[in-house]
């Protein structure tokens, strides 16, 4: 009993210590870990659906990446702020409601200011709700950490997701359509007979490129999945 209270006291003291530097070493790690070593897509295998579906061209991919970063960061903050008031049994529904609210916001903004892009992304904007990265971060991080740390964690995971889908989109658009951001790059350098690869525009190209990307990335970080 006495040791327990002692531990509790120590924990309280630890919390009250002079506030941590705004970008301490630990906090930098919270941001940088998901970028490479603990990447949500290549290592944790989360959020694959939208990673593949929108990556035919760079522009929708960039829009999607921004939308997902926005949703992750804000849902992380909101859940982290109210984490002590969420009853454990209904937490999934509470989290889903918060995410759905943010996604509705994103889709209404897209519809109002960027209607062409909204039509291209179609149902996949709505599918950010079921993007496992968002749910995963809420469950694993925001439910147990303070708002500021949760923002950093959201940024880290969001950008970890963003750079992977941008790389996939880069190769798919370059090889599949011969362009980048709809700019015909091969015609510009005088190679107008560049053979575009239909497989890359198709879903199969997405699987292949992501598979190879995962291989390279895991080879570099030395992560091995046990069977």
């Amino acid at each position: 009993m006495s040791t327990e209270t002692l531990e509790k006291d120590q924990a309280v003291v630890a919390v009250k210590e002079p506030s941590e530097a705004l970008l301490s070493k630990r906090r930098k790690k919270v941001v940088s870990d998901p970028l490479v070593d603990d990447n949500p897509i290549t290592i944790q295998v989360l959020g694959i659906c939208s990673a593949l579906a929108v990556t035919i061209k760079m522009e929708p991919t960039l829009t999607m990446a921004i939308a997902v970063v926005f949703v992750i960061v804000f849902s992380n903050v909101i859940v982290s702020l109210i984490r002590n008031f969420i009853p454990n049994r209904i937490r999934i529904i509470v989290q889903l409601a918060i995410i759905a609210f943010l996604v509705t916001f994103v889709s209404e903004v897209l519809k109002a200011y960027y209607y062409d892009m909204f039509k291209v992304l179609g149902a996949y904007v709505g599918l950010i709700i079921t993007n496992c990265i968002v749910m995963g971060r809420l469950e694993a991080y925001a439910m147990a950490n303070k708002p500021y740390d949760s923002i950093l964690d959201g940024l880290g995971s969001g950008f970890g997701y963003a750079w992977i889908i941008l790389v996939v989109a880069f190769f798919r658009e370059l090889l599949g359509s011969g362009s980048l951001f709809d700019f015909k790059i091969f015609e510009a350098i005088g190679w107008s007979s560049f053979p575009t690869n239909g497989l890359m525009v198709d879903s199969i190209g997405a699987f292949m490129i992501l598979g190879i990307l995962i291989w390279i990335q895991r080879h570099k970080t030395g992560y091995v999945e046990s069977h």
Binding site: C49, T130, G211, Q217
Partner: protein, 203 residues
């Protein structure tokens, strides 16, 4: 006849996994053994066949522009489409919870095999995705039910096939970095290529 066509399309041509990449998370995570893949696949078929028609009814009678006309002429101009995401996901989460409780009471054996997968399904993109596609495609109620069943079956066959391949892969010598997810992605790509040969089937 149209419904059968929709089911066939859902399984072979517009396959949830190979064409739309929906439900990939659970597709990759739960495909290590055929028996568990079977359980998840059945649960997905079950939940999709129930939630797609329910969401159809809600969409047609409440959310659509002018759908509230049955409440009186004052409501004719109301457009609640922006509520779509929240309502659909709430319906799915609630239905999954309900189905779980009903199965637990009615058939403990089935609950034993499906039980752990049901909560997972609430956040399966395939369920929400089907509901959103159903809205885009203007189905009737019967067609929507057929679509739910068809796309669920498509997911079922895909995950069983992948699990069968992965069970065999256990004994092969794979480069370290490619183990697990990397190789699974490549296999899924090849399977998608095979499914391409079904394009054009019409009954």
């Amino acid at each position: 006849m149209e419904s059968i066509n929709i089911i066939i399309r859902g399984i072979f041509i517009d396959n949830m996994i190979f064409t739309y990449f929906l439900g990939m998370c659970s597709f990759l995570a739960v495909s290590k053994k055929v028996s568990t893949a079977f359980g998840l696949g059945m649960a997905v078929i079950f939940v999709l066949t129930i939630t797609v028609p329910i969401n159809w009814l809600i969409q047609e009678n409440i959310l659509k522009e002018g759908a509230l006309a049955w409440m009186g002429s004052a409501y004719e101009t109301i457009d609640l489409t922006f509520m779509q995401y929240i309502v659909f996901i709430a319906v799915i989460a609630a239905m999954v919870q309900l189905v779980e409780m009903v199965i637990e009471k009615a058939s403990p054996a089935l609950y034993g095999s499906l039980g752990i997968f049901l909560p997972l399904i609430a956040v399966n993109c395939a369920i929400l995705g089907s509901a959103l596609f159903m809205v885009q495609r203007d189905y009737t109620l019967v067609e929507a039910t057929a679509y739910g069943f068809g796309s669920g079956s498509g997911f079922f066959f895909a995950i069983i096939a992948l699990a069968a391949i992965r069970e065999k892969l256990k004994y092969s010598n794979v480069p370290d970095g490619l183990k697990g997810l990397g190789l699974t992605m490549l296999i899924t790509g090849l399977m998608g290529l095979a499914f391409k040969s079904f394009i054009g089937i019409v009954i």
